[in-house]
Amino acid sequence: MRFAFILGETLSGIRRNLSMVVSVVLVTFISLTFVGAAGLLQLQINQMKGYWYDRVEVAIFLCTGTSTTASCATGPVTDGQREAVRHLLESPTAAPYVKSYEYESQDQALQIFQEQFKNSAMAGTVTAEQLPESFRVALVDPEQYEVVNELFSSMPGVELVSDQRQLLEQIFSLMNMASVIAVSVAGVMLVCAVLLIATTIRLSAFSRRRETGIMRLVGASKTMIQLPFLLEGVIAALLGAVLASGTSWAIAEFFIGDWLTRQYPGTGFIAGGDALMLVPLLLAVAVVLAAASSLLTLRRYLKV
């Protein structure tokens, strides 16, 4: 009964103050969507780190018939040169730095290439001979790329030693930057949301001062008087958070999980399921901010 009454009061408050409540919903929706986007970026970075760091750190590309570098002057890599590289990888000189390595033949390279670029016209024109065979080396300490570079880059038959992690680091720092920007925007928007909630509660309290005045006089408890307003703010913010959660999920599921994965099949992308981790966070942020700003406002503007 009591709870039903409080809920009824809350709903009538929302009805009376509908435009303000809708704006609170929208502002929290947008701001929390930015929070969600930042969260998705971080999840994606973690995902890619896990995926890539285990696979490629250093790639030792071997010479092909079309190589132009000085170390490939003798033409395509010979069996002996290839074995020399493999030998050095397993030798005591290099072994302390090498966690594991994999050999990728020209045919395998072609397969991966065709997989990656299957939507593009290039896939049909490239042949296995044009692609370099390579050793993919995972390092014990990824920072010690230079040592490996020195050991292998001057070997005959080796075209190029490249630290793929550096490439990734650039991508990651870009993504980190993007998530910092998203968080900053989210911060500003959240400040807006908090102020808007405060204003909304203040208006709501003002428009129902007759009711609250009577409640006070007949001796209604503080909870009974304040809870409907508090709930009004919290419900509006929660609605915004639900919309933001839905949007974050949709971005993860359809944009990243579907579209991006199709565009870049070689990369590990997050999917909708991963975004669900963010939902409790978004809901909690909404509830805490709305409750705090409502309570502060009520303390100032609603006499009990």
């Binding site: 009964m1 009591r2 007759r210 009711e211 009577i214 001796g219 009974m224 008087i225």
Partner: protein, 293 residues
């Protein structure tokens, strides 16, 4: 039931206090008129009882508790024991008569069954049978005030405070309202009514406490609304001695046993003549309390 002990209320240090050193006591079941010009302190008096304001000095006892010292979270409980009626009714315009009265019960968490049972009873008491479904604007002023009274008493408070309840009503309607208040008083509720309505005070012949510039200048058991100009407070003070010296009044008795006695109603009515208009059972005068101590 209600006792003011040397209560002073200052809103603004630069102007004169709204109440100055007021000492008075109302027993359980009494009907008291609080009279005086606008600005004499009647409303402050009522607000202090409700703990809408805190006394600047002195103690305000309501039902045995010093309201001025009451912590904030206990205030709702205090207000549940007091019903209030105002000059401007303060009904909720979008709620029916029934809903307006029921609202006072709902906000205290009363059950639906209890509300459905109590509200019609109370509406009958105030003479609003059959008007449960009307909205406030469909009622006359007198009927609206009856709704307000019903709302004030629906939770069965021990005390009913009425701040000029007939101020917006014509004399005949006012009489109807007074009959309702009288009946509520007869059922055992202490009624304190602030008013400037001469006719009503003169007809009812109940206790009259007159305030003037924040001081009590008169306290009569079956008083009248004084129509003749009262001498200024300072002059009155000079002549006050004779009226107060004779009274072995509630003032002393009250200060002796009140701290323990939460049920002030069992105390005897102050002795003293009850001849209308002449008797002064001067519990009220501030100087008296001080003089005796």
């Amino acid at each position: 039931m209600i006792r003011f002990e040397q209560v002073t209320k200052v809103y603004d240090r630069r102007s004169r206090p709204a109440l100055q050193d007021v000492t008075v006591e109302f027993e359980r079941g009494q009907f008291v008129f609080l009279v005086g010009a606008s600005g004499s302190g009647k409303s402050t008096f009522i607000r202090l009882m409700l703990r809408e304001e805190r006394a600047s000095a002195g103690a305000v006892y309501v039902a045995g508790r010093n309201v001025a010292r009451l912590p904030g979270w206990r205030v709702p409980r205090l207000r549940r024991s007091i019903g209030v009626v105002f000059q401007d009714f303060r009904l909720l315009p979008n709620k029916t008569v029934f809903a307006n009265v029921a609202f006072a019960m709902q906000v205290l968490g009363k059950g639906r069954g209890q509300i459905r049972q109590t509200v019609p009873q109370v509406l009958r008491t105030v003479g609003l049978d059959g008007k449960e479904r009307r909205l406030p604007h469909e009622l006359s002023g007198g009927e609206q005030q009856r709704v307000a009274i019903a709302r004030a008493i629906v939770n069965r408070p021990d005390i009913l405070l009425a701040d000029e309840p007939t101020g917006n009503l014509d004399p005949e309607t006012s009489l109807g309202i007074m009959a309702v208040l009288d009946q509520i008083n007869e059922n055992g509720t202490t009624v304190v009514m602030a008013t400037h309505d001469h006719d009503i005070v003169n007809q009812m012949r109940r206790r009259v406490v007159e305030l003037r510039e924040g001081r009590i200048v008169r306290d009569e058991q079956a008083g009248q609304y004084r129509t003749a100009p009262v001498p200024p407070a300072d002059d009155w003070a000079a002549t006050a001695g004779e009226t107060v010296q004779t009274s072995t009044d509630t003032g002393t008795g009250a200060s002796a046993d009140t701290d323990t006695d939460t049920d002030a109603g069992i105390r005897a009515v102050p002795p003293g003549p009850v001849r209308a208009g002449t008797a002064r059972t001067g519990t009220a005068r501030t100087g008296t309390e001080e003089g005796r101590r």
